[in-house]
């Protein structure tokens, strides 16, 4: 748990993160300039169009109609063309930006250590990689452009209107003030209420998730009504807030429409007076009304775009928060030419940041090449942490772990993780083919090697799946039993023939018979590798040459199973179930 991941609020200017993303736009600079030019021309055309209309209406003679009409056609086509060019050319840079940041984010996340990932739920990371990036994309791609375009359009149209007939122009400009004011206020309220709805929907989703995953428990206890009641309560909350939200936007959109209509009425009244006094032609009045309506959308959308800007800054912060997390586990530079697999833990300690007591302290252990050590300890004694230190899924906080004399922190991660392979208790399967799940980082593995590994793990059942090794498993594919999954995880670990094999209670879900078969096969594998076996059961301990007893965060005893059984009462307490069972058996 690196300390720097624990401070989500960094003292940075909100816009700083967004500004830092400009580098992603750099490769597209030419296109961006083009888009801006095209956008401005588009505005010009959209303003020119009603002006041509004015000329048509005020035309003095029929001969003027045709050229003016053709001009109108030309300007109309130009406007459409400019919109087309802007949108079409924009596609690539805008999506490129999003895609590149997402790629980089993913790459960075894969580099960040376990400590980071155990602090961050994958859902939070996903929302950064999807929702936040889309928000940024929309702002950098559209929002920013529209913001500037709107301002340009607003000022130009206002100038044109003032030029046409300044009293009316002034009136129109004045009517923009309440709209801007209200839409800014509206956006603030709207964002707040939208977030509230989102949060409440999140709570509702959590309930749904639990009701789906915990369906057995709910059914087993017949608590359908209880679960329904809490769902209903939460759903009604969403309902109430949504109704408020609807009311808010209903008011706002109504306001948006009513102001321009009122202005229109006033313009007509004053315009008519002006026409009466000869201060204005009819054509100008018509053009005036059309142009005026062009202002409604840019003004109304200002609030929306500003809100979008704000949101994208928050999003950028959220993305940068992850990007700025420095991987606490850094790559070393050394390699091992011909690894033997001599593993030593030298005074190793591990403490979670901020924790009072260390999980592990003063752990000394020497595992010679080819030797297998079983690690035994009660739940929570730090066995899994100990095994995670070897492939550097976490780093020691004191002491060191060495392989063939190299501190693991000095080794290249790729080399280290080639030497060490781990089979975890809770096997992770990905929604991919069996082959891909087995080979993971070892794409060069041959079918022959895959078969060997499957045989060791007693997992040849995969050949009987509908598409054999090509069958998709994991969440989105064929579902496998706990025992089957564990056997695949084991096959994955032995596939690369690692020099050091770590088995973290890998056989817990197997039935007795299968376990015996797997153990038999594992014995061969472990003869050629250095092994660390975390064990709960006597049968698994027997795979090892010697046993290390982990108590109170350190190794208190090392010896053979029999020795420990005879000499160490704590060990007997942990493993020697037979003693007390046979006593009871004898009593009967």
């Amino acid at each position: 748990m690196p300390p720097d991941t624990n401070s989500p609020r960094r003292p940075l200017l909100a816009s700083n993160s967004l500004w830092r993303m400009r580098s992603y736009l750099r490769p597209h600079i030419g296109k961006l300039v083009f888009i801006w030019l095209v956008a401005i021309l588009g505005i010009a055309a959209s303003i020119a169009f009603p002006l041509v209309g004015k000329e048509v209406i005020d035309a003095e003679q029929t001969a003027d109609l045709l050229p003016l009409g053709l001009l109108a056609v030309g300007v109309g086509v130009a406007e459409a063309l400019m919109i087309f060019l802007r949108r079409w050319v924009q596609t690539k840079p805008v999506l490129g930006l999003e895609t590149e940041i997402r790629d980089d984010l993913y790459e960075h996340l894969q580099r960040l250590p376990m400590a980071f990932h155990s602090d961050w739920q994958s859902g939070q990371l996903l929302s950064r990689a999807t929702t936040d990036l889309s928000t940024i994309r929309r702002f950098l791609g559209f929002g920013m452009l529209f913001l500037v375009m709107n301002v340009i359009q607003l000022t130009t149209v206002t100038i044109v209107l003032l030029n046409m007939y300044w009293p009316l122009g002034l009136l129109v400009a004045a009517s923009a003030v309440p709209i801007i004011w209200v839409s800014l206020r509206f956006e603030k309220k709207y964002i707040k209420i939208s977030r509230q709805v989102q949060d409440e929907q999140g709570d509702l989703a959590t309930l749904v998730e639990e009701s789906a995953i915990g369906i057995r428990t709910i059914k087993a206890f017949g608590r359908r009504h209880h679960v329904y009641d809490s769902f209903d309560e939460s759903a009604r909350k969403v309902y109430a807030t949504s109704i408020d939200k609807v009311g808010l936007s209903a008011k706002f959109f109504t306001f948006l429409e009513v102001i321009p209509n009122f202005t229109l009425a006033l313009v007509l009244l004053l315009g008519a007076l002006a026409v009466g006094t000869g201060g204005l032609t009819l054509g100008t009045l018509v053009a005036f009304t059309t142009l005026m309506l062009q202002l409604v959308w840019p003004i109304a959308s200002l609030g929306y775009i500003l809100a979008m800007a704000q949101e994208s800054m928050t999003s950028a912060d959220r993305v940068m928060e992850v990007m700025d997390t420095v991987p606490s586990i850094r790559d070393g530079s050394e390699t091992i030419e011909d690894p033997r697999g001599h593993l030593r833990l030298e005074g190793v300690g591990f403490r979670f940041p901020g924790a009072e007591r260390p999980v592990l302290h003063d752990v000394w252990l020497d595992v010679r090449p080819g030797e297998t050590v079983a690690v035994v300890g009660a739940t929570g004694s730090g066995k899994t942490t100990l095994t995670a230190l070897v492939p550097r899924l976490v780093d020691v906080t004191s002491g060191r772990v060495t392989i063939d004399g190299h501190d693991v922190r000095d080794l290249k991660l790729s080399v280290l993780r080639d030497v060490v392979a781990t089979a975890f208790e809770e096997p992770t399967l990905f929604s991919m083919s069996v082959r891909e799940n087995l080979t993971l980082g070892h794409r060069e593995a041959t079918d022959e090697e895959v078969r060997e590994a499957l045989e060791v793990a007693q997992a040849t059942f995969v050949y009987d799946l509908p598409w054999g090794l090509d069958t998709r498993i994991g969440e989105q594919g064929m579902s496998l039993s706990g025992g089957q999954r564990q056997r695949l995880a084991l096959a994955r670990a032995v596939l690369s023939k690692p020099k050091i094999l770590v088995l973290d209670d890998t056989l817990s879900a197997l039935d007795v018979e299968t376990e015996a078969l797997v153990e038999e096969a594992l014995r061969h594998v472990l003869r050629e590798a250095t092994g660390i076996v975390v064990a709960h059961r006597a049968s698994t301990v027997l795979l090892a040459d010697k046993v290390a007893l982990l108590r109170g965060g350190t190794i208190t005893h090392v010896g053979t199973h029999q020795e420990l059984l005879a000499d160490v009462p704590e060990y007997r307490e942990l493993l020697a179930q037979d003693a007390d069972m046979s006593e009871e058996g004898a009593l009967r």
Binding site: L81, G214, R216, L273, L413
Partner: protein, 606 residues
């Protein structure tokens, strides 16, 4: 060797894929659901229609009034005959604007409320239905799909109700109204203005089809990005331990690019459509200007009419763009509705009896009478079983994986119904038992010890509604969980975290045991319930089990024979048949399978 794309592997079905063609005409079941949801709001919808017609009418009237103002209001004023007409027109415009504002606000509020009512009703129905559906359904359907039905699908419909519906109704009314008004204002000019209409319709149809394709593609590609992303992050331990990063980056890059391309296609489509509409609109306006200008010059139309035309044509083309946006919303809502109605159509395979028999206090005698069970007819899991478990007996079930132990247990818990014969509790067929009675009498604890978010006490209390804190603590004490719970930061009020993530597997299991104990069932089923405990905890539980099982019927399934020892009776199963039956001592003494297993177990401990 793997190529770039075959990493995903093959799966037989992708149930969540969007239907090949989501037509606007929904299937009967979806239509029925829709009618059903709408029918309580029939009156409100009628009122709503009236309101929206008023609102659109008022909105449409304004350009016409502008025309009247220009044509009839200004000339008399210019002639110095007073401004009476003009002022009247202005007053009417203001009135129309106010009417439009008020009716529109009413419409938005009412339709919003109806929409939310429908959503709430739909959420309730689907949730309740999922909870009613049998376990066999859930096993096939998987929790992921249940979750997306109740979240993303409902949201798709919400999206339609919130934004799309309003947009569509307004757009359609405005378009028809405008077209009619144009013709009324001036037939010739109106016809010129409406000439491009067929082109517009064809263009929109083309766009709709294309956008259906791109939309589908975007959805598919983003789904793959999300799955890959989430799985990489949740499985980061395996990813890093096995140096999976480069390969993952390669796959992610490809998926990301696919998603980008799909998005690009969608954006380009809009890049063609939006200016396309604009072009048609502008050309129409230009045409109207030329022809209208010519007519006006020859005094065949007034300037007011021309101005009204220009205002109306703007109104006419703007909604077209909204309709195109709306189409995607409509489509995804349609697909969501199809899926939801499909779920609601599912019948629970284990239905609750309408008026079930109630037992005051079950004794706990379980009897199988000619019971058979199979998923597929030709492959029976349990061929035919006759078995009586007297009240109060503890029975251990032993056998290899797939012998039918769990099936037997699930039949007693009525997670499944037998395909033949019956299962009886105290002489009553389980299918005739009242749901509450059954669930109060039979409780099953599995190795999936699910904890709900909330406190430890709440999780234990889940076993019995309304249990007091004292009872909860007593249950924890009886099971031997009190000690570790008291040591937690907030004791019984400690939040367990998401799915009990802040506790070890063993601790979660102890809480699950306490929950089952609190429920105080007459029949307790333990399916591999102790397998995730380490030996000391298991021993603790086993000690507790002796007390817990003393006065109730129990069925214990365990791979580990240590658990079996506490049973009164052992049943050895093989391929759905009970092959050995007797007390543990008897079976150990005989030379059957159990004796063999027992010996192997003893050896493994040596």
């Amino acid at each position: 060797m793997t190529t770039a794309t075959d990493w995903r592997g093959v799966a037989s079905e992708n149930k969540d894929d969007l239907p090949e063609k989501v037509s606007l005409l929904l299937r009967t079941r979806s239509r029925k659901l829709l009618t059903d949801l709408l029918s309580p709001h029939r009156k409100a919808i009628a009122l709503l229609s009236a309101v929206i017609v008023c609102s659109s009418g008022a909105g449409l009237a304004i350009p016409y009034l502008v025309k009247v103002g220009i044509d009839s209001g200004i000339p008399p004023m210019a002639r110095g005959e007073g401004s009476g007409t003009l002022l009247t027109v202005i007053a009417v415009i203001l009135a129309a604007a106010v009417t439009q504002a008020l009716t529109r606000q009413a419409f938005l509020k009412m339709s919003g409320r109806i929409g939310q009512d429908i959503l709430l009703e739909l959420r309730r129905r689907v949730f309740d239905h999922f909870q009613r559906l049998s376990l066999s359904f859930h096993e096939k359907y998987t929790s992921g799909r249940v979750i997306s039905r109740l979240t993303s699908d409902i949201e798709a419909i919400a999206e339609l109700l919130q934004s799309g519906f309003d947009g569509l109704v307004t757009a359609v009314l405005t378009m028809f109204g405008t077209a009619a008004l144009l013709l009324i204002l001036d037939v010739h000019l109106g016809l010129v203005a409406l000439v491009p209409l067929p082109i517009l319709l064809l263009f929109t149809r083309w766009f709709r089809r294309q956008s259906a394709l791109t939309y589908r593609r975007t959805r598919e590609t983003v789904a793959l990005v999300i799955v890959h992303f989430v799985e990489s992050m949740t499985g980061i331990r395996a990813v890093q331990a096995f140096r999976r990063e480069p390969r993952n980056q390669e796959i992610f890059g490809q998926l990301n690019t696919d998603y980008r391309d799909a998005n690009a296609r969608a954006m380009q489509l809009i890049a063609v459509f939006m200016p396309g509409i604009k072009l048609i609109g502008n050309l129409t306006i230009a045409g109207v200007l030329i022809y209208g200008g010519w007519l006006a010059f020859h005094d065949e139309v007034t300037v007011g009419v021309l101005a009204a035309f220009l205002l109306y044509l703007r109104q006419f083309y703007e909604p077209m763009q909204e309709i195109s946006q709306f189409y995607n919303t409509l489509q995804s809502a349609g697909a969501a509705l199809e899926k939801l109605s499909g779920v609601l159509e599912e019948e629970p395979s284990v239905p609750e009896p309408p008026r079930g028999a109630e037992l005051a206090r079950a004794r706990g005698e379980v009897r199988f009478e000619g019971t058979a069970f199979s998923y597929v007819p030709e492959m029976p899991i349990l061929p035919r079983l006759d078995l009586t478990i007297p009240a109060g007996q503890s029975v251990a079930l032993v056998g290899a994986t797939g012998a039918g132990k769990t099936t037997l247990a699930k039949l007693i818990a009525r997670f499944y119904d037998p395909t033949e014969g019956r299962v009886l509790l105290d002489g009553v067929d389980l299918r005739d038992l009242d749901e509450t009675t059954l669930r109060g009498a039979v409780v099953m604890v599995t190795q999936e010890n699910f904890l709900f978010s909330g406190t430890v006490a709440e999780n234990i209390g889940f076993g019995r509604p309304g249990a007091s804190r004292k009872e909860i603590v007593e249950a924890a004490e009886a099971i031997g969980a009190h000690e570790f719970i008291s040591a937690l930061p907030d004791g019984y009020d400690t939040e367990v975290g998401k799915r009990g993530g802040r506790m070890s597997a063993g601790q979660r299991q102890l809480v699950a045991f306490a929950r089952a104990f609190l429920a105080d069932p007459s029949v307790l089923i333990l399916d591999e319930a102790t397998s995730s405990l380490d030996v000391p905890s298991e021993r603790l539980v086993q000690r507790a089990l002796r007390t817990i099982l003393a006065d109730r019927t129990a069925l214990i399934i365990a791979h580990r024979l240590s658990t079996v020892e506490i049973a009164d009776r052992v049943l050895v199963m093989d391929k759905g048949v009970i092959v050995e039956d007797g007390s543990p001592e008897q079976l150990v003494a005989s030379s059957g399978r159990f004796a063999g297993l027992h010996q192997a177990w003893l050896d493994s401990l040596a």
